[in-house]
């Protein structure tokens, strides 16, 4: 089938064809951007936190004792938690990925210099690295004599006394690109802190866009306020039992406290991303709805056109056109319309993406998604037109001799 007659016939339905092109292009523009958003958000959802997610459980404890000595209290509690069957290791900590409890410091490389990056401080008792399951790729864990209290009663002054730190690879790449960070000093506050180790991944309590998400520093600082998070590592099937026993054990030791947020790390992650998951579901529904409506439009128009052209189809069949010719005619026509729509749609998709980049911090749309959108619409168009086209092909030549 050569193109000119197809185009000529479309010219007779200018407005209808134009509307279909418009619909295809709008769908293409929206679906490309939506597909990209889905991919982008799914990546965020899957971001590894760096900790042993399937094996961690935690519980927050707030001591209500007026004369509490937090350091002693935490030691006693930890000893009791360690006794629970199935607990591999425990630590008292002040923050975890996704728990929103974020103490961030500007990190400078010289005293009083402007900060190069803002990084979360993770603090905890000895064994924090092992308990969280952080993966040390360079250097060593903290030594027992390196631990100091945070001194939360005096504006967390421990940060000026802590001698060493372990930082994430993302932060190394930001602060010391291409250099060996071990032994180098950084300034989270006024005093230098020496880097003794590097972990491959550790997300911050608030997930951000890009590499900022993993700007984290671990300090050998002991939590010393009345509220603290106890984190326990256990095998995944023991998690619920361990949580229950942990609450009992802590209350048994001293029940003048409030226990809250007793949960597994998996729950914490699920809760943190519930908005993202709702959004992904809505985006998928919107894309599916758009494609469905567009398929509907294509099929509907095609079937009207088939009815309208019954007589001309009959004439063509009578003068020698095969069923295949008729079928291909409608397929070619659809291909022409969808292609025009996709071309216009690509332009629209990029303008839409520009607006999204301005208002919603969306990254630039990769060409790949345009290709995906185009292929999806071509396939959809061909599928949608197949039914009406087959009906057209089935029109017998004798129709030509009948009047309408």
């Amino acid at each position: 089938m050569s193109l000119p007659p197809t185009v000529a016939s479309l010219k007779r339905h200018k407005l209808t064809a134009l509307l279909l092109v418009l619909q295809v292009s709008l769908t293409c523009a929206i679906v490309c951007n939506v597909a990209f958003m889905i991919a982008h958000r799914t990546t965020q959802l899957r971001q590894p936190s760096g900790v042993a997610e399937d094996e961690l459980v935690m519980i927050d404890s707030t001591d209500l004792d007026d004369n509490a000595q937090p350091l002693v209290r935490h030691d006693t509690d930890l000893a009791a938690l360690r006794q629970i069957a199935g607990v591999k290791s425990v630590a008292a900590i002040d923050a975890l990925p996704f728990n929103l409890n974020d103490w961030s410091n500007g990190i400078a490389l010289a005293p009083n210099a402007p900060s190069r990056a803002v990084a979360t401080a993770y603090n905890g008792t000895p064994g924090e690295l092992a308990t969280l399951g952080l993966h040390l790729i360079e250097g060593r864990d903290f030594l027992t004599n390196e631990y100091v209290p945070i001194d939360s009663a005096h504006d967390w002054a421990g940060i000026d006394r802590v001698p060493v730190t372990i930082i994430t690879r993302a932060l190394v790449e930001k602060l010391f690109p291409g250099q060996d960070p071990l032994g180098k000093s950084m300034y989270p506050d006024d005093k230098p802190v020496r880097i003794v180790g590097v972990v491959d991944h550790l997300l911050r309590p608030h997930v951000r866009e890009g590499t900022d998400s993993e700007y984290a520093t671990l300090f050998p600082m002991l939590p010393d306020s009345n509220d603290v998070t106890y984190v326990m590592r256990t095998s995944s099937q023991d998690r619920d039992r361990v949580l229950k026993q942990a609450a009992d054990a802590l209350n048994h030791l001293d029940d003048n406290r409030i226990l809250q947020h007793s949960q597994t790390f998996t729950q914490l992650r699920t809760d943190y991303f519930h908005r993202s998951r709702t959004m992904i579901a809505l985006l998928i529904a919107a894309a599916a709805g758009l494609l469905f409506v567009t398929a509907l439009g294509i099929a509907g128009l095609a079937s009207f056109w088939v009815q309208q052209r019954k007589r001309s189809i009959g004439i063509r069949r009578a003068v020698g056109a095969t069923r295949g010719d008729i079928l291909r005619y409608f397929q070619t026509e659809n291909f022409l319309i969808v292609t025009t729509g996709v071309m216009l749609g690509s332009l629209l998709a990029y303008s839409l993406n520009l607006m999204l980049m301005q208002h919603y911090e969306q990254p630039r749309l990769p060409v790949l998604y345009l290709a995906i959108g185009a292929v999806a619409l071509w396939l959809l168009g061909q599928l949608a037109v197949l039914g009406p086209a087959l009906r057209a092909a089935a029109v017998p030549p004798v129709v030509a001799t009948r009047s309408l």
Binding site: H13, L15, T16, L19, L20, L22, Q23, L26, T27, I30, V34, T62, L64, D66, G106, P114, S115, R116, A117, V118, A153, H154, D155, A157, D189, D190, D212, D227, N256, R257, I258, Q260, D271, H274, R275, T278, M279, L282, L283, A286, G289, L290, V293, T294, L296, G297, G300, L301, S303, F304, W305, Q307, Q308, H359, Y360, S403, L404
Partner: protein, 433 residues
């Protein structure tokens, strides 16, 4: 005649049942999705203090240093340092003013049967209650003297009051918060403005209510637990009361716009004066935002919801183009029938009316379906664990809005096809037959 056209429309729609059903479904989906999101945004952008919001303002003096690493933080968050908040409070240049911060505290009931628990509250200064018109069920707030003397007094909201004291009178009784006894001097009548506009605007702005209110200076003296963002720069101790840590919110009330104008000048003078002392290095001048402007400025509506609205409207747009196309094809296919009617004396107007009614029928049916789908959509929004979820109810305005949208949408969808079809040249059509 209209009735006859209506019957004709039904007859014509019945001839292509599947297409008609699909058209109704498409318009229904589009309207349902759009109305769900429009309703959610409508209830979320409502005025938290109707009648009072026009008099309330947030003074914003950005105290942060210039060399912040992240440019996104350049949007002023309205947080103030203790020094600035206390200066503005004591200067008392507005009709009313209050400094405040969010907090959480262990509540320790006197009854031994109840376990201690955590609750959320706000640490505020005396003008807070009259300024925001917080409704008292019994008792009242405290005075400026109480603020200065660090009085151990507390105002409870209805829920916490019920939890602690049941139905017995609570005024004069004590509540133990963390390690201190506070005397109850007032109980609010379940005050829950949505959003909690006076706090730092974050994910918890909707669906959160404060259950207790204490004097700010008292809370600071007792080192109670503060919630929310605390940003410090430079160094030196006493973070909360220093001039290099921003964390307090400040609100002012004016009875007239002229006073607001005068306050702007006062803020500008303070800003310039402090600049000569080496503070406020940022180039942005001091500002004064009205309540509703402030909520918009702080993006109280999550960007995701905005995006969902645009998505829904985009979807509606595609559905509309789809229906216009289908109706056009449908009407033009009936050129023959139309030509016969025209030849027999029907005016263009008549044809237009007939076809217009046919598209209206599709539109109204779609609108009804859309309304049902919007209710379903809002129900699904209410199942979300977000704070705004419970607000997602359709009110009369939105109900009428849905109908209006359905009618307008179907009018637009039918207009072009009907106009094209009534312009068919009868002679030409009849000749080709």
């Amino acid at each position: 005649m209209l009735g006859y056209y209506f019957v004709l429309a039904l007859y014509s729609l019945k001839r292509s049942r599947i297409i008609t059903a699909l058209m109704i479904l498409a318009i229904g989906l589009g309207i349902g999705a759009s109305m769900t999101m429009i309703t959610v945004l409508h209830v979320m952008s409502g005025d938290p203090l109707p009648g009072r919001s026009a008099q309330l303002y947030v003074p914003v003096i950005d105290p942060h240093p210039i060399n912040k690493t992240n440019n996104k933080d350049l949007l002023p968050d309205g947080n103030m340092t203790w020094t600035d908040a206390m200066y503005l409070l004591h200067a008392a240049r507005a009709d009313r003013q209050a400094a405040m911060a969010a907090g959480a505290s262990p509540v320790r009931p006197a009854q031994s049967t109840m376990r201690p628990f955590f609750d959320f509250g706000h640490y505020v200064t005396a003008d807070f209650f009259p300024m925001f018109g917080a409704p008292f069920r019994v008792g009242s707030g405290w005075t400026v003297q109480d603020d200065e003397q660090r009085a151990r007094v507390v105002v409870l909201n209805a829920d916490l009051n019920r939890k602690l004291f049941g139905n017995t009178p609570s005024i004069g009784r004590t509540v133990r918060l963390k390690n201190t006894d506070f005397r109850v001097i007032g109980v609010l009548d379940d005050w829950r403005p949505q959003p909690t506009f006076y706090a730092q605007i974050d994910d918890r702005a909707f669906g959160h209510t404060d259950q207790f209110f204490l004097p700010l200076q008292t809370a600071q003296e007792l080192q109670l637990d503060f919630n929310g963002q605390l940003t410090c720069w430079g160094s030196g101790g006493d973070a909360r009361t220093s001039d290099h840590c921003a964390w307090l919110q400040f609100w002012v009330q004016f009875n007239s716009a002229t006073k607001a104008h005068a306050y702007r000048d006062f803020l500008a003078d303070y800003w310039r004066d402090q600049q000569t002392h080496g503070r406020f290095p940022r180039p942005e001048h001091a500002q004064l935002y009205g309540l509703m402007d402030w909520l918009a400025n702080q993006h109280v509506i999550p960007a995701d919801l905005d995006l969902q609205l645009w998505l829904a409207l985009g979807f509606l747009g595609v559905c509309m183009v789809n229906i216009v196309g289908l109706l056009l094809a449908k009407f033009l296919r009936r050129s023959g029938e139309i030509s016969v009617r025209r030849a027999l004396g029907a005016r263009r107007r008549d044809i237009f009316l007939q076809l217009g009614i046919e598209s209206m029928v599709v539109g109204l049916a779609g609108g009804m379906l859309g309304l049902a789908l919007a209710e379903l959509g809002l129900w699904s929004v209410r199942q979300r664990p977000d704070g705004y979820a419970q607000l997602a109810q359709m009110d009369l305005v939105m109900l009428l809005g849905t109908f209006a949208l359905a009618v307008v949408a179907s009018l637009f969808a039918g207009l072009l096809p009907a106009w094209r079809a009534c312009n068919v040249t009868p002679a030409l059509q009849l000749k080709t037959q």
